[in-house]
Symmetry: C2
Subunit: 426 residues, 2 copies
């Protein structure tokens, strides 16, 4: 019986004498069956979860703490303060919710809207569609404003629509559309919304862009933005981030969609004492704390420049492989690059071959399943990983009869990166 | 610039050559500011999050993987199969949702009910009250069936109420009430519900009991039960567990409460291919996988016996300190023990003194704040940790003028444990 081993070892000092846990002492090897772990050296290039720095991984293995104690409160305050400063807000509250990014999208909707509210969802891909679907599920009166997949939304067209439409209560926007590798001109879109009749609330899915791409919450008039720990923040998934500005708080007071777990007011009330209403993902926060520190150490302009330069490298490398990128140059994301699968190349076997070499990329979503492939390059990434991904993909393309000069593409990736960095950080 | 360091290190083998991440290579010490970590040897005796075994902590530091890849699918299947067998179900689906236990409570409600549905909430404490509050927030017509705090619900009284009341769509029950240290006679309560007019759905908050206390989902006719990774399962918080039986699935088809993130049907659809609809807390699952393995290795009857014996030890030890336990003997929980704070002892300074010695216990909740103290003893716990907690509390009581023989209480804790184990495992 495992627990009996400590039964005769009565401590005697006033200091709590527990060393190691019951299972550590009982002499059973918990690893006697193999754990499913990735092989060493896997190059995880999906658009999240992203590879996490060794320091973050180590932090995640720290002993558990009381989520209502002083250590936790200090950690919560450091993370929320750090995120706030990195996204340019002094007036919004950063709330850390235990959940996926999609949970934060739901939270953004149910805290600011009432059933029947007119909502415009600007959708340019699968995640914009998800925003619309959630809003509809909770009874919003949803109008969709669409761009073709692979393109960004046009601020002038949005302004025109808003000027002629009945006023909306809120406009839901995507900062960076993960399904197509497109970044929206968020500043201009937000300005168009604020100029519209009724000055609708500006609610942003910033999940795959925040932290990595320029974002100025207060200056751009973003009322509410959500993100998630496993993207540019370099943590593991499990913490959803909601940043709530004054106009969103005012909307929350009037909002009548049902909510309990995701209730922002409850989260703010507990955050004031350094806690969360419900037991949070403590170990994920251990890691996120370090991820945010790493970003603050780097400095946000340098982080943005690094992501822009790696994106330039990815684009150059993939084009050197003869691939066609999904997005037009001005619409391309700095965190996700999508390319069309060459004619006649079947995604399943091609993807399996790349995975066999340790390269993990993502395929297309929804209507684009089997048609495109997507590379994530956000968070803890350097040009080395990206060039390696391009090279391995090039070698695999060649094996599948789509001749490509992998070494040349590797070189093009690095060169475009260096050129972009030279301009950004002269 | 951090990422530039790898720029000239072009790989050349066909195998992906990434070793270590960009931040590992850049030579910055991420620990240059202190991290808030608990001191070594802290005895975390709150009712969750619980201390996690070293093997679980190590697993949480594994490299990130693709949540839509084969390694993840194998892990998901192992965890869900393991949990199902440990709680006695062959017919229910085990769903792993990223969130806190309270999120799983919300999920249980919104997936099985429609606004206006008559729901009986059997509440014996703060977590029963939470169940009622969530159901009301989503528009259920809630009737409360209460026991006094500190007591269990009476199956005969419940049967009597159900026989005379208009039929309910569902009855919400608490397996183990964390706020008072009381376990409900769940088997008998469930039987009373099934005998009632309309055969209401039996929905159980099993968060702080499941895995540690006897529970037979299929045999007892439990339609839906929820739990959370950080309780008896020995993981970190962040994964909510929902186990959904056939009658709950049927209810879900008719249920009209709005839902998106918590939608069970969506979770089941993705689980069939070894995935989750939204990005899950992968690192928490790494740990939970090991926690479930440890429980399977121990065997559920032995796990239940260990928890019962440690509870007996805790009760004996606290009574030896002269404390009065909250619950009557037949109602006492095997995972949480609550005792009244002695007259004239102020909780704040007393708690601070215990924390100064590394002993972390919980105070009272809601109306019982400052009146009781609660010890968690679930998951990775042996009698050594519990006896140590009793001894440190005894020494602190003495310092506060509430004379107690700490060494004798330590001995009584161990003796009661040994006696209980001798009966359970002769």
């Amino acid at each position: 019986m495992r627990a009996a081993s400590g039964a005769s070892a009565a401590g005697s000092s006033a200091k709590s004498g527990v060393e190691g846990s019951a299972s550590d002492r009982r002499g059973i090897d918990p690893f006697h069956r193999p754990i499913m772990m990735p092989p060493m050296g896997q190059n995880l290039r999906i658009p999240g979860p992203t590879p996490i720095p060794m320091a973050v991984r180590e932090a995640q293995s720290a002993p558990m703490i009381d989520h209502r104690g002083t250590e936790f409160a200090a950690m919560l305050r450091e993370i929320t303060t750090g995120i706030g400063s990195l996204i340019g807000t002094e007036q919004a509250d950063v709330l850390l919710l235990t959940g996926s990014g999609s949970g934060a999208m739901e939270a953004a909707i149910v805290n600011t809207l009432s059933p029947g509210d007119r909502v415009l969802v600007v959708t340019i891909g699968a995640f914009g569609d998800r925003f619309a679907k959630i809003a509809s599920a909770f009874g919003a009166d949803v109008t969709r404003f669409e761009a073709n997949w692979g393109a960004a939304a046009d601020p002038a067209a949005l302004a025109e629509h808003l000027a002629s439409a009945k006023p909306y209560r809120a406009v839901l926007l995507t900062h960076n559309e993960t399904s197509t590798g497109v970044a929206n001109p968020l500043r201009e879109l937000a300005a168009a919304v604020h100029a519209a009749p009724g000055d609708p609330l500006v609610v942003v899915d910033g999940i795959s862009g925040l932290g990595a791409i320029e974002f100025e919450m207060d200056a751009w008039g973003i009322d509410l933005v959500v993100s998630a720990s496993q993207k540019a923040w370099m943590g593991s998934p499990g913490i959803a981030i909601a940043v709530v500005g004054p106009r969103a708080w005012a909307a929350a007071e009037a909002a009548r969609m049902p909510r309990a777990y995701w209730d922002f007011a409850e989260a703010r009330r507990w955050a004031e004492k350094g806690q969360t209403p419900w037991t949070p993902a403590v170990s994920v926060l251990f890691g996120l704390q370090l991820g945010v520190r790493l970003l603050r150490d780097e400095g946000r302009e340098r982080t943005w420049a690094r992501h822009a330069a790696i994106a330039a490298g990815a684009q150059a490398g993939l084009e050197a492989l003869g691939l066609t990128l999904v997005a037009a140059p001005q619409d391309r994301s700095h965190t996700v690059t999508a390319a069309w699968l060459p004619d006649g190349l079947e995604w399943g076997p091609f993807n399996a071959a790349m995975r066999g070499k340790g390269l993990i990329v993502a395929g297309g979503q929804a209507a684009w399943t089997g048609k495109i492939m997507r590379f994530g390059h956000m968070g803890d990434v350097g040009i080395g990983e990206m060039a390696d991904a391009v090279r391995v993909m090039g070698e695999t393309l060649a094996e599948f009869g789509h001749g490509a000069d992998a070494a040349e593409a590797d070189r093009a990736t690095r060169e475009a990166f260096e050129q972009a960095m030279a301009v950004a950080v002269p």
